[in-house]
């Protein structure tokens, strides 16, 4: 799926040199946004797992269920082969594929 590219470090869309919004393949980005947002789309408030605040100060044993909920959210949006996992340096990696 092709769409607008989102910069998670600035929490905003990216402008290219021509002054228009940058685009990219956004399958993985969609999964990430669905996972971290409380409400992704105003017309579909049921979509969004908000994993950040739910993981604060929680025991490690509760993390898999929170990530599983995020995965279900992404799959309900049409994503396939969704994975959400921690890397060795404790970064979250979001992957998934959408049909064009």
């Amino acid at each position: 799926m092709h769409g607008l590219k989102f910069d998670f470090s600035t929490n905003d869309l990216i402008l290219n040199e021509q002054g228009s919004f940058d685009t990219a393949t956004i399958d993985n980005q969609n999964v990430a946004i669905i996972s971290i947002s409380q409400v992704c789309v105003l017309t579909k408030p049921e979509l969004g797992a908000q994993i950040g605040p739910r993981m604060v100060n929680r025991p490690q044993s509760s993390l898999p269920s929170i990530l599983a909920d995020a995965k279900r959210n992404a799959e309900s949006d049409g994503a396939k082969d969704v994975t959400i996992r921690f890397t060795k340096d404790k970064q979250l990696i979001f992957t998934g594929t959408y049909e064009d």
Binding site: Q38, V39, L42, T43, K44, P45, E46, Q50, G52, P53, R54, V56, N57, R58, P59, Q60, F86, K88, D89, K90
Partner: protein
């Protein structure tokens, strides 16, 4: 329904109707402001005030947080309603408040917190036999809800071979369960991922064992059972057991009530940490 703090009109609409389409219905039912004026004689207008405009232009908007209001809104999206509650930032602090509430429970037990030195830990061990303590380390990730029976200490330890030529880092989160004249230590460790090779750097339980407070050569010490203490070889970061039959964590002098230092006798470890101690018996 009661309107909670940190809830916007958007959150309220999502909570009750599952859609922004519920906003107009909500707005029509929320309390409106009342018009105010100065014409009742309770206030003298300022010199620059326009009297006619002021009489009909002021309103007082009620505080909605905590208000109990009768609201009736159609449900447009059942799935979205089931996801309630939607809040602005309240969920961000939910985990922190749970932690804080748990901390208050522990802090509220027993006597007031007193500095370590006032208990007379140095030099006589006899006076705290039969007493029970709870140790609190304010700067550590202490009092986690998973471990309700004790307070945690964060100990930073360095190893050296006697001439400070080798250094390794070991982060130990240790809840201290104190019973009479013994410390019960449950040790979790993780090796700094920049140095160690314990896999993914997660915490795991090494062991749980009681430790007696003893007097060794005139020093107050925590007696670690043989084989219970582990340390890291800083060259290849492998876990090596102690070869000594007995090991002691010597309680050093406390320079201030904020600073308790422990060291392993002639082993070269040093622990520095802030201690508060509370009598619970």
């Amino acid at each position: 329904m009661k309107i909670n703090p940190n809830t916007t009109i958007v959150d309220l609409s999502f909570n009750l109707s599952g859609s922004l389409a519920g906003v107009p219905a909500l707005l029509s039912q929320l309390p409106t402001g009342e018009r105010l004026g100065w014409g009742d004689g309770t206030r003298i207008p300022f010199i620059w005030e326009d009297v006619d405009t002021l009489r009909y232009g002021q309103t007082w908007t009620p505080t909605l947080a905590g208000l109990d209001v009768e609201l009736s809104v159609p449900v447009y999206n059942t799935e979205a309603v089931n996801k309630a509650p939607y809040t602005t930032d309240l969920q961000d602090v939910e985990a922190a408040t749970a932690w804080g509430n748990r901390m208050l429970e522990v802090l509220g037990e027993g006597s007031s917190w007193i500095p370590f030195t006032e208990l007379g830990f140095i030099p006589d061990t006899e006076q705290f036999k039969g007493l029970r303590f709870r140790v609190f380390a304010p700067e550590s990730p202490a009092l986690l809800p998973d471990y309700p029976n004790g307070a945690w200490m964060t100990i930073e330890a360095r190893t050296y071979d006697g001439d400070y030529s080798e250094e390794g880092w070991l982060d130990i989160l240790t809840p201290a369960f104190l019973d009479e004249d013994r410390f019960n230590i449950i040790t979790f460790t993780s090796i700094d991922p920049e140095l160690g090779t314990d896999g993914d750097g997660t915490f795991y339980i090494l062991d749980a064992y009681p430790v007696d407070i003893v007097n060794v050569d005139g020093n107050n010490c925590l007696a670690i059972p043989a084989g219970k203490e582990k340390w890291v070889n800083s060259e290849d970061f492998t876990w090596l057991p102690l070869s000594r039959p007995d090991s002691y964590l010597r309680i050093l002098e406390v320079e201030s009530w904020e600073d308790l230092k422990l060291s392993v006798s002639d082993r070269g470890w040093s622990f520095e940490h802030n201690f508060f101690v509370k009598l619970i018996k």
